[in-house]
Symmetry: none
Subunit: 188 residues, 4 copies
DNA sequence: GTGTAATCGAGACGGTACGTCCAGTCTTACA
DNA sequence: TGTAAGACTGGACGTACCGTCTCGATTACAC
């Protein structure tokens, strides 16, 4: 079990510098405009070091974005029984997290990476849609509306995605109303 | 003021061949993998001819996709007064159009093009979100629920976008339920 | 048979600029230190343009050197019957051509290229050794010493090669004496 | 003054394995194609160990080649007084050594290394040209033809060099005749 | 008909990013 | 301290593609 690795160990410093540089540059210039040469230079790292750990620009961006940004989910872990309050709480938290940071821009980068790299797409789903769907499902099932769980998740994921993709801030602010409509529309 | 053009006129045949080749290749290999050299070869057209009509690969893809695919909207032109029936009709039509063809794949290409080219993004919004929002707004206002118009549009656009982006067929089939929830949740 | 080429024709300006830049940089920094990036920049040419016309750095250097430098041979075209005078004349001419210019440095570059690229080696032989051997052979045969032709060529080629490779100026100046020894040693 | 070394002593085994691996690989693939990674792997040695003994790839190749191959000279240590016999003896010995082994290929590697590394060039001259010149000079001076010593050395070095560089086997076999011409041409 | 001028297919051009490869250095654990 | 292993920075390599430019050939309109 000792595995006793041999040779120089991976430089955590380099890995973190690359991830940070990637985030900074993606935010500054957008996903498509960023090049690995720039990232390597900004991270003060050899280009080969990047390729040693990520097999493509897409995989790197997916990692860089997910590592720091994606924690939209873990709030609605235990439904309180009050569906409306649970959803509002979660949604407001998500909006806040998206608003304060440059998270939306990073998500867009992730979306672009997903278009090229299937693994990035899978990671994005796993980190974004799946937990959200699970949380929403738990909340709905605990209030006896389990049959609407998937639809509710569709709606919430879709609305957030749309607000991100289209850079539509008003839509972001209307998400609270979406929750109300959802709660009311799935009653009985 | 006649403007009487001189010289060889542009070839409509070439323009159409390019659009068709673009669609075919985007469907076959995806947006990122397609190159203008391939498109030009498939369309039996010189590369410069493409640039005479479109200023970039992104603009071309936007045109190619929008020209054929994007007619999600014109169905709900006149609200009948029955909100639920109007929305269902429109939504079922949209789903059908998305299901039978490779429309979803083309939308994804359009999304990718939008990430690089602002004009493509604007065109996508103009052709996809705006008409949808207008139609939904008209339907809601004609039934006295105008204050929910934007939210309803957010929800429908978002749900469709999500189904497209994530290639989630079940979600596509649940859109009818979304309409029901929406109608019920915005009552009174 | 007209061949009537289609497409943009090759840019002679670019070709000449690349060859000149190659010569300049090889003289300035030596063969091994020169990179195609530098050559492309100095010639104000795209890198791909170089690769379009030469399949490697070696082939380019061979071309660049041979294009301008290699005219050691054509002097001894018609043997006069006086072997000693013919050889001296040719040898002095060769030495002069090697001395005044940077020819020796270019030859060394060519030699280095030949080590990597067989085609370059063949071209070097064809342009340097073969004509020299032919001229020497003609001179020897016309004076009834044909059986020494090859040996004489070996000697003269070798002596010049050595003077080039080892940057041995005194050896260069002794070539006249070599001719005398050669003429005397092959008499009768 | 004891200098009493501390720590693990250097491994002579490693040094010899590196030299042997270098020779093998240079012979198998040529100088330019060989990499230090390959050499280290073949010698079952760490890469750093190589750099502890040699400061560059060129220095290593120079050492590897010279260590085994270069002993062209020591035969004509004491001139016998019979110039022709001395030269023939030496030359035949040299040819034999060059023919049986892969010495010519190794020389070419050495030549390539010399192009990059001045020290390698100096070592090559010291090991190849200088002793040869000394031996030839001794032989010529002991027979009263001292004034031809340098020229004779030029010729013999050049002829051998040419045979090596151009892979010209016939030229190698004509070296005996060169000696005859040289002896005859420098008489009186 | 003939001239003129813009378009056409073809393909080279400058430029730039990619992903690979290697040299020479550095950092581990082990001997 | 020397060693094998292997990651590190740095930078050249050769390929691919973009958007532009330059050919000869084509094609419509103006004369």
């Amino acid at each position: 079990m000792s595995a006793s690795r041999v040779g120089r160990p991976r430089s955590e410093r380099a890995r973190l510098a690359v991830l940070q540089a990637t985030r900074d540059l993606v935010l500054a210039h957008g996903y498509e405009a960023v090049t690995l040469v720039e990232i390597a230079a900004a991270a003060e790292v050899g280009r080969q070091t990047i390729y040693r750990w990520w097999r493509s620009k897409e995989a790197l961006v997916a990692d860089a974005v997910l590592e720091q940004t994606l924690s939209l989910d873990p709030r609605v872990v235990t439904p309180s029984g009050d569906l409306s309050r649970d959803l509002h709480e979660w949604v407001e938290d998500s909006i806040a997290r998206m608003a304060d940071s440059d998270a939306a821009a990073l998500y867009r980068a992730l979306l672009a990476a997903s278009a090229v790299d299937d693994a990035a797409a899978a990671r994005m789903t796993a980190a974004f849609s799946d937990p959200l769907r699970a949380a929403v499902t738990a909340a709905f099932e605990s209030t006896g509306r389990g049959r609407y769980a998937d639809v509710a998740a569709d709606v919430l994921i879709g609305v957030m995605l749309n607000a991100i993709v289209t850079r539509d801030t008003p839509a972001r602010e209307r998400i609270g109303v979406v929750v109300d409509v959802l709660v009311r529309g799935t009653a009985e």
